[in-house]
């Protein structure tokens, strides 16, 4: 039961279709399961993200802080139609992406954070997020911005996104780029990996997510290594 005021604070929710889990083999030979996160997993995901809020390098601080707030907003029912997808290797969270559905035709990409680095985990998860928007929800286009040079190269340049500066993105109106349905199918074979269904045993490993035992990014915290 929620009280009347709380009910008024919550945005109306649209039922979004589930993202069917998939898996792929990374260059290291590790298998990463990509699956949708449940709302009740958010407190755990906040724990995963928290250490990165102090890492200036590669804009981890900005991305981590904003994703933290976005996921918290979803958990506390303050964002409409948000979703979250995670990548896990042996159950350990390797990366997280999130976004939201604006309406039946348009999606808003929020953030992509790679916990495990050097294996293009962020790129694979971003692709999964776009797959969710275009192929599962059925959006015609997704609004995207990049907050780091790495993100700009991975999303904006590699997917040759269409610039649409007149659109104000929810992350603050920075220049918006758009992934259209056409662009998605144009680049899918080259940039999107993963297979379905996920073998039962493998899927089971991602059921109870685990915290990373180390964050390579922490060596670059302020005052640390340059």
């Amino acid at each position: 039961m929620i009280d009347k005021l709380e009910a008024q604070l919550r945005p109306p929710a649209t039922e979004l279709p589930p993202y069917p889990p998939k898996f792929l083999m990374l260059a290291s030979g590790e298998k990463m399961v990509i699956r949708q996160a449940k709302r009740e997993e958010v407190p755990f995901l906040l724990e995963v993200i928290r250490p990165l809020i102090s890492v200036e390098r590669d804009f981890y601080d900005l991305v981590a802080a904003r994703m933290y707030a976005e996921l918290l907003g979803w958990y506390r029912y303050r964002v409409k139609d948000e979703y979250c997808i995670v990548g896990a290797i042996d159950g350990v969270v390797a990366g997280i992406v999130n976004g939201r559905s604006m309406n039946p035709d348009q999606g808003m990409s929020y953030h992509t954070i790679a916990i495990k680095r050097g294996l293009r985990v962020g790129g694979h998860l971003f692709a999964a997020k776009m797959e969710y928007h275009i192929e599962i929800i059925g959006h015609k286009e997704v609004f995207i911005v990049a907050e780091s040079p790495i993100g700009f190269r991975r999303w904006i340049l590699e997917f040759t996104l269409e610039p649409r500066p007149e659109v104000w993105h929810e992350l603050g109106g920075v220049p918006t780029y758009v992934l259209t349905e056409k662009l998605w199918y144009q680049h899918k074979a080259r940039l999107v990996a993963g297979r379905r269904p996920v073998p039962e045993d493998l899927l089971k490993t991602s059921k109870n997510l685990k915290l990373p035992s180390e964050y390579s990014q922490l060596q670059y915290q302020k005052g640390g290594k340059t």
Partner: protein, 390 residues
Amino acid sequence: MRKVAVYGCGMNQFGMYEGGLVQMMAEVSLAAMDDAGVDKVDAVFVGNMGGGILNHQTGIASALVDCLSLYPAAAMLIENGPASGGAAVSAAFMAVASGLYDTVLVTGGEKMRTVSPWEVTDFVATLTHPEAEYIYGITLPALAGMFTRLYMEKYGVTAEHLAKVAIKNHLHALHNPYAHVQLAPVMEAILGSEDALVVNPYVADPLRFYDLCPVSDGAAALILSSPEVGNFKKPPVFIKGIGHATDTHTVHERKDPTDLTAVRLAAEKAYKMADLGPKDVMVAELHDPFTILEIAESEEVGFFPKGEGHLALERGDTSLGGSIPINPSGGLKAKGHPVGATGVAQICELVWQLRGEAGKRQVKDAKVGLAVNLGGFGNNVVVTILAREE
């Protein structure tokens, strides 16, 4: 001619460096000076290819001297494409051997991650022939792709051989704290898996992502002197031979484009000067920005007959523990290739190997080492031979 030896080495972890180019080079220079136990030098030789283009900075040797308060040491910049580092070592060797200077600092450095990968590729392509190659859109990966295709057709090299070079060097790099990439790919994932086309995409067919070196910032430094000058903190590792050779600017003008003639000629000169041969070499650092080049160079320096380098690779001869370990540092492939630093970093690795300081990547009882630093697409090559004993 005086004997010349390396007495000090310094290097940073290749990857992304957040400070400036000269600051990065100063840090490794100080490390090399500390290693040798010197606080002044007579001259500074700097290897750098792209300071003007990538970092909008020229006069880097003067800036380094100033940053380290080494005045009035002589200072000069040597730009020789990706062989800038090797050429700087060569120039420093001549300066000490001739008696012009007693103790010199050689520092190679490059800061490449200030621009996008596409801009880096274009920057490196400026070493190609402007009218015959560059204007047609040629890049170094494109040249390497064509070279690899020819090599495959002529000698039976396969995609698996190329991947084996990459995997071997990445495994070596796991033991090198200075290496840029600290993870090792596996064959199934980069060639066999259904995801391989995305995980390891084609860059310049038949070369794929894991056949190419990463784009890195990095610097390395050496202190060179002569035993006649006095004692240093560390024992000497002697530069026994240096060979330097060139070839046609454009690749298509070569009689057989699969021959790296300048590598062969530079190696012959270095062996002759050192009075040593390929069989005496116990560890090698070969210039492998593309996996195929390690195979081709291993043949041109005489370790294996032409066209059989890939067979030696298959046998495990070139892995740590093999008969002639190649690129125990991880090579350019995994350690990284900040172009101006590479030739100096190769010598650092060999010195550590010959001193017995290479940790888990140590080649057992290594006494003689060889480095190939290749500029252009094989048109300007420096081969250096080092030895523990005089």
